[in-house]
Symmetry: C2
Subunit: 661 residues, 2 copies
């Protein structure tokens, strides 16, 4: 092991293993996760070539091979728990998406939720046994987040009792679904249902797209891969153009809504039930933000103790770059964020399960709040993680730019989370809609429950958006619970300001819709402040659960850094509202520097606690043993352009050039 | 042409062609640039396959082919002016780096500047005729920006009158130089010179690395490609390990420093002269920041008027997404930034040439200021552009993630500018060193000249870092020159605060070096504020040169937006220092919304004025004609994974799986 990184580990003030257990939510879970990891990483059937050395087609090929293996092994080992399957899969395709993801995560679950008994008989077993390979085709070239805009049509023909599916425009071509391009032979297609001359909105249809035997596209089906992307190279995101494709009436998923043989449409009982999946997926993404940031911090912080550079004091050996204050300032707030988001991920899952329990008992009252929270936190955490990954990459100097660092891959695989499952700005505005509605209810005297209840607090406890330097300040900036309070007041004020902006726009005789659009910047800021408050609060609450003194101490420092850094970055908000004095804001900046220095000795231990296996990290810079440079050289030498000493282009172009000049 | 984008153009309030001339710095320059563009884009010898559809080796191959063609054509057409070569090259490899870049931009110029007459005879003509293909090997695996840390050695052996070059450690292996991996047969190697038992620091040596005829590596040379990167796929960035490689004494570049046959070392006359190149390259990078952002804004803004999505008013057709305030708020400040940086790029080039004139007349007095300015602005503009490109990409929804959007490529080709030619944080600290030094000189009563002269202004004109809400405010936030003044005061205060922080650290009995490191966060912020001030000032000054009323009007709006947006994002600074009142900051946010609405009708015309050829933009989303979706479908269908309807992996893995489950 590299002596620098060894010394870092010796200097840690807490038990890394215990913190790992906290992050895993229990010692048993850590144990089981590691068992699964070793099951995969020791299995020669999952050996792979470095995808960075392969062509796109080879990458897809390798991923299909491993996915097929995985299905076999999961059955062989009897692994069936969703969480365990998740761990297994994320080792087989180390944190990369795979061609069968949508089959497993969307096609099968949609059948379970929306297929009738007859349809289950007809499709589920084949799909379970991968004869039917399916995908979920919702997004079109012209529309994503705004579902009502989707243009694909499914028109019922009572004379043959079939639906006729069409892509009436170029922009209506299905676009992006994973596994659609090459892998799937079936697709659940979302289309506007027309029957008896009337449109009934979006419904789901099972459409065979390729021949079960030859895998050739069926008549009327134009299907293929949408071409290279920033990342997701293993996945055949596809297009699907439907030209008068006829499917039997029984291929509409009819557990909820129905079309009878004569074309009569029967409405579903409740539209709200499908919200659940959306909320679940968005909650999962919060956890992914935490993981992506945890990986990035692991790489950047480990490399920053191995790498020596420049000088602080003349004549002395080059210091570890983590000793530079600027490097700490780049990385430690992100480390704190990774911890914060991990705990927010746990929190989201917990309330998701609690509220799902309520829903199953017919109580939908908390669903809107959960929906708003998951939308906002999805946006808040993915944006933060997205920019944070790049800060980590650039903090590694030039080597961060090499594929061997692993950081470019983390970024390109993660960044779509800002867009998919609800575009982030749209998500923030959805949360804002809930906040403004709650604010108005509070103004009308309603008692709010749940996390927005702070909007109920008496107006005089909330400060006006006016700096009053002379106002007696009760905030203790060194006290986390005091900071939670300040974040709450900031959220309350920004919600109020957004609501007022709408009011002012309305007074200028604008329509409600234009008033909303004319206040959108304020609304997004309000949502952002709300989410920021939730994150700080969840982190602070988490500390209360931690018994181990040493861990409590270091996590408290992280939580304080997270909260203070947010204040420093948004100091205008706190000053404008008179929530903090200028002196306090200046003090915060000084305290941040002290917290950085305080965290420095535990930095490596804090990333070690994430316990990310080297094979998942996939980074020469972030290796557990710190032997960076030897491995980088090794990796480069084995890269494909070095397969021959002399590239053919020398003989083709460069040498002949001599005679021409 | 798409009717939406056509209507946008009809609604513009100014003459796009005239603005293009301003951006090109003259009508003649626009004309000549377009001539060169058409020369390349109509030349079938430069036809290329979409690099996104090729393997790395094929991309390299195609780039070498086109580079070789380019050399022939430049001579054929007699194009020799550096600016024209630049335009030509940026069309041949549309804004992509190429394998011969370092030969042309570093190897040849270094010979010109540092070779003796004898060396010119021996090397220059061969290099000019591409028999010798060279690169510039400075960076090592373990060291980049910090030159003194480089470890490669060149030890003089008087007995044979040779230098013996070695890579004594793994971390000393040369790493990153472009064209080193496969293309070059020579390298200018930077190495620590040892002679007569003494080290004389870094010097440059011409080292043959491959056989002139067979192109095989020479004895003692281990050379190859460093492997795949985030971008730069066309370039064979390489490694070079030297194992007792002997070169004749005459291969040391000896125009300045010398080693005599007996090993006597003769010092160069002035070390400062090499600064010039560094300053020049950094100034160029400022221009590249502008171009990268201009391209990204062109793509995002054009697509935002073609794309209709969701609804503002129920029942009405889907609006263009550029009508959403949030979309304007994402893109228009970046558009303003692209304009600002373009003008800063012009400004840098102008003062570079002025000061170089002075230097040639022996006047080095302005060099430190220029050096500090170019370092800071390089960091400031690349960081801003870097994050701005990604905002543009994500503002295009999912399609921004497709390689067909062109945006992933812009990002990966641009992002290294944050690291190379001086890592950005290091650059900011260099600028800060100059600022603090100037501040101290001013405190000691020295009269400063140049851009930092504001540090001389009487202390009482500069406000204390204390919010004094009651302070009479003279700032008119709607007046650009008033905002320039406010930015200046902010810079002055942040420089003062950084200097005070150092002072405080020193009082805690820290060494000067530790005090500096303990204030590094403040120092970076001070540099940032200084650069921000320069950018706002240059933009404001530029307006004074513009005669056309319509153009003056729209650029004034952009400049105001740029300045106000900076205030809104950094409002804490302005409030803390009491430079603006809370009321003014709140007013700024309101004004920003008005400016966005004001710019909306001219948005497409403002990006059209950048006049970026479709072949350089290389984006289905940003096409001039707005025919986005048809082209996207076309592009996808021609991508390699669609070469066959059925991918072989189906027969290899998926179909066989059925019998096993």
């Amino acid at each position: 092991m590299n002596p620098d990184i060894k010394r870092e580990r010796e200097n840690a003030t807490f038990d890394v293993g215990k913190l790992t257990n906290i992050l895993d939510q229990g010692q048993e879970k850590t144990k089981r996760r590691r068992e699964i990891e070793s099951l995969v990483f020791k299995d020669p059937d999952f050996n792979e070539q470095d995808p960075n050395f392969l062509s796109r087609s080879e990458r897809y090929d390798q991923a299909v091979r491993k996915s097929a293996q995985m299905i076999l092994k999961l059955r062989e080992f009897g692994i069936a728990d969703p969480e365990e399957i998740y761990h297994y899969k994320s080792c087989v395709h180390p944190d990369r998406p795979s061609p069968l993801d949508l089959h497993l995560a969307m096609f099968l679950p949609t059948l379970l939720n929306q297929a009738t008994a007859e349809q289950m008989d007809r499709f589920f077993t084949s799909a379970w046994n991968l004869e039917i390979i399916g995908t979920y085709a919702q997004t079109e070239m012209g529309h994503g987040t705004h579902l009502r805009g989707l243009e694909t049509t499914a028109t019922y023909d009572p004379s043959t009792q079939e639906f006729v599916l069409n892509s009436p425009t170029v922009s209506s071509i299905k676009w992006w679904p994973g596994g659609l391009g090459k892998s799937s032979n079936h697709a659940i297609v979302l289309a506007q249902l027309y029957t008896l001359g009337k449109c009934h909105g979006l419904h789901a249809f099972i459409v065979p797209i390729r021949d079960m035997d030859t895998h050739e596209p069926l008549p009327g089906i134009v299907v293929g891969d949408i071409g290279p992307k920033f990342g997701f190279n293993e996945v055949d995101n596809g297009y699907l153009k439907l030209e008068n494709v006829r499917i039997p009436r029984e291929n509409m998923l009819m557990k909820h809504a129905k079309v009878e043989p004569d074309g009569t449409y029967l409405k579903p009982q409740s539209a709200k039930l499908t919200y659940g999946t959306m909320v679940f997926v968005r909650s999962m993404i919060v956890g992914e933000s935490a993981r992506a940031l945890a990986k990035s911090c692991t790489i950047a912080i480990r490399y920053s103790v191995v790498r020596h550079q420049s000088e602080i004091r003349p004549g002395e050996p080059e210091p570890q770059i983590l000793d530079y204050q600027t490097q700490q300032y780049k990385l430690f707030p992100l480390l704190a964020t990774a911890y914060a988001f991990t705990f927010v991920g746990h929190y989201m899952t917990k309330i998701y399960h609690r509220i799902t329990g309520d829903i199953n008992q017919g109580d939908l009252s908390e669903l809107p709040e959960l929906h708003a929270l998951s939308a906002g936190l999805k946006a808040f955490t993915t944006w933060e993680a997205n920019s944070g990954i790049e800060v980590c990459r650039m903090s590694c100097g030039g080597h961060g730019y090499s594929r061997s660092s692993g950081l470019p891959d983390i970024y390109v695989e993660f960044t779509p989370t800002c867009t998919y499952e609800g575009e982030n700005t749209v998500m923030m505005l959805q949360t804002a809609r809930y906040l403004v509605k709650s604010y108005r209810q509070a103004r009308e005297g309603q008692q709010l429950s749940g996390i927005v209840s702070y909007l109920n607090e008496p107006r005089d406890r909330r400060v006006q958006p006016q700096a009053v330097a002379a106002r007696p300040t009760v905030v203790d900036i060194n006290d986390l619970s005091s900071l939670v309070e300040v974040y709450k007041l900031r959220a309350a004020i920004l919600v109020e300001m957004a609501a007022r902006s709408i009011q002012q726009e309305l007074q200028h005789r604008k329509s409600p819709e234009d008033a909303w659009n004319g206040s959108a910047i304020d609304l997004v800021r309000a949502s952002d402040a709300h989410c920021h408050y939730v994150v700080v609060k969840v982190f602070a609450d988490k500390l209360g659960e931690i018994g181990d003194t040493a861990i409590h101490s270091v996590l408290s420092t992280l939580a304080l850094l997270y909260a203070m850094n947010g204040i420093a970055k948004n100091s205008g908000d706190f000053l404008k509202a008179g929530l903090l004095s200028v002196h306090q804001v200046l003090q915060t900046s000084v305290r941040i520097k002290e917290l950085l220095a305080q965290l420095r000795p535990n930095a490596v231990a804090l990333v070690d606690a994430f316990d990310i296996h080297d094979k998942k990290l996939n980074s020469v810079l972030g290796r557990y043993d710190g032997n960076v440079y030897e491995q980088m050289f090794e990796w480069a030498r084995s890269s494909p352009l070095n397969a021959t000493e002399v590239h053919e282009s020398f003989h083709k172009y460069l040498k002949p050039l001599r005679s021409k000049l």
